[in-house]
């Protein structure tokens, strides 16, 4: 639909206005939820005061480490798996059921293995993100047309040049999809782990504020998590759409 984005923005705006009205009229009491404008004002206050900057920085850094590791490992592993047919056939059903496993259940085990530091959180986030990268990259590699690979051969390209000049550009939109998923999973993994057992980070601060009825901290932090995730996703989506439009696929 031509004006789908207008309707989308309109719907979101309507929801915000509805929340605002419900909070203002007492439909939602103040102890349960702040009005949206208050969340924005408090978020600005938190950011400018710098009181939670260390927590925010820690969460975003850990999520970034998990994301980059998942992308690097996931893409390389997918490329190797694409060539190893037997291993691929063995692992494919496991990938299909992977997200049925509650990865957070392993968090205590991670703490035993890695200690009570940032590593268990990063590892959980990595585990959540990496399989989506592997599966999406494999989907891209499977779709590289045979005729393009034959063209690489008759153009006398070696394996490295074929990967760089043909395969990588072809799977680029798939890698962007993988990146979008990996970022979302990395944030979920890190923040979720901070909720469960941590003394720092945005997840911990949200949990701490919740336990202390501190809505002025909890809701702005939730808003920040949403804004970060949506912003990064929107940027990658925009880039992905440019590539797909170029190829007549959007």
């Amino acid at each position: 639909m031509k004006y789908a984005w207008v309707w989308r923005v309109g719907l979101l705006a309507a929801l915000v206005v509805l929340l605002e009205v419900l909070c203002a009229t007492g439909g939602i009491d103040r102890l349960t939820m702040q009005p949206p404008h208050r969340m924005a004002v408090d978020l600005w206050r938190i950011i400018t005061s710098g009181s939670l900057n260390a927590a925010i920085l820690r969460t975003l850094t850990n999520a970034a480490i998990a994301f980059v590791s998942a992308m690097l490992f996931g893409v390389v592993f997918a490329v190797l798996l694409h060539r190893a047919r037997f291993l691929r056939e063995t692992l494919d059903p496991l990938f299909a059921t992977y997200y049925a496993i509650p990865v957070f259940a392993f968090y205590p085990l991670m703490i035993v293995v890695f200690g009570l530091n940032d590593l268990p959180e990063i590892f959980i986030a990595f585990m959540l993100a990496v399989v989506s990268v592997v599966v999406t990259t494999l989907a891209g590699l499977d779709r590289v047309p045979r005729v393009l690979l034959k063209t690489a051969l008759v153009s006398r390209l070696g394996p490295v040049e074929t990967a760089r000049r043909i395969v990588l550009p072809f799977v680029a939109p798939f890698l962007l999809t993988a990146a979008r998923l990996a970022i979302a999973y990395a944030l979920i993994g890190v923040i979720g782990a901070e909720f469960i057992m941590s003394s720092n980070g945005m997840g911990y601060e949200i949990s701490f504020a919740y336990n202390n009825f501190d809505n002025a901290t909890m809701y702005p932090l939730i808003l920040l998590v949403i804004l970060t995730s949506v912003l990064v996703n929107a940027l990658l989506s925009y880039w992905e759409r440019i590539l797909l439009t170029q190829r007549g696929l959007s």
């Binding site: 393009l148 034959k150 063209t151 008759v154 043909i166 170029q246």
Partner: protein
Amino acid sequence: MSAPSQVSLRGVRKSFVRPGRDGGTTEVLGPLDLELRHGEFFAVVGPSGCGKSTLLELIAGLSTATAGEVAFEGRPINGRIPEGVGVVFQEDASFPWLTVRDNIAFGLRKKQLSKADKAARIDAALDMMGLAAFANHHPAQLSGGMRQRVCIARTLVTEPRLILLDEPFGALDQQTRLLMGDELLNLWRKTGATVFLITHALDEAAMLADRIGVMSARPGCLIDIVETGWARDRDSRVVQEDSFGVVTARLWRSLRTESMKSLGRSGLAPSGLAPSGLAPSGLAA
């Protein structure tokens, strides 16, 4: 005296190991002998699945013969892609992430040429294929025929001495195919390259080629070679000549029984239908 051969195939056979546990092989091609003369336009027709594309892949070095020898300019190919050979495939092989100009420039990547020389060659190829106005477009913005022209241009800029075409107009409508055929004849004359064309269309082969090889059903062997006798400066108007009908009729005579065999093998021919029950549709006999 005939020109010396540029490509020679002697006693060539190709077989594939069947998937499954029996470990048996399927003979797909040969034994086959063929000499391609320098600068000629040679077309190959044959029933579906007779090994036409396999034959092209053997000459391109994309595949190796199970037996026999394939040589280009006197040197055995042995599965190595020979220098001076360009291939255009039936499927769209343009790179969707590159513009038309960059697609064509891709062919020149390994050529030791100055930037100006490369640009001149690309411009010439764009002009020759009627793509100058679309140089900065992406393939998705072009029609199927134009995309195929991009692939031909990408091959042409390398100035190959042998151009292999695997049903390059297969996806196009009849009118566009006739016009593309004219363009192909033009560039064949301009470049002086040898052209080896695989096609399933008898009229296309009869219109374009100096000689046409007719292949049998699998395993594909050459059962006839037809000399068309056209002048070098021909174009698609040869379809109006009486001798065009004579050529296509001879092609069909050679091919009819083989096509029946091929249909019978695929289970498409009605069981009670004798070979004589099929008429040579669409041919001026």
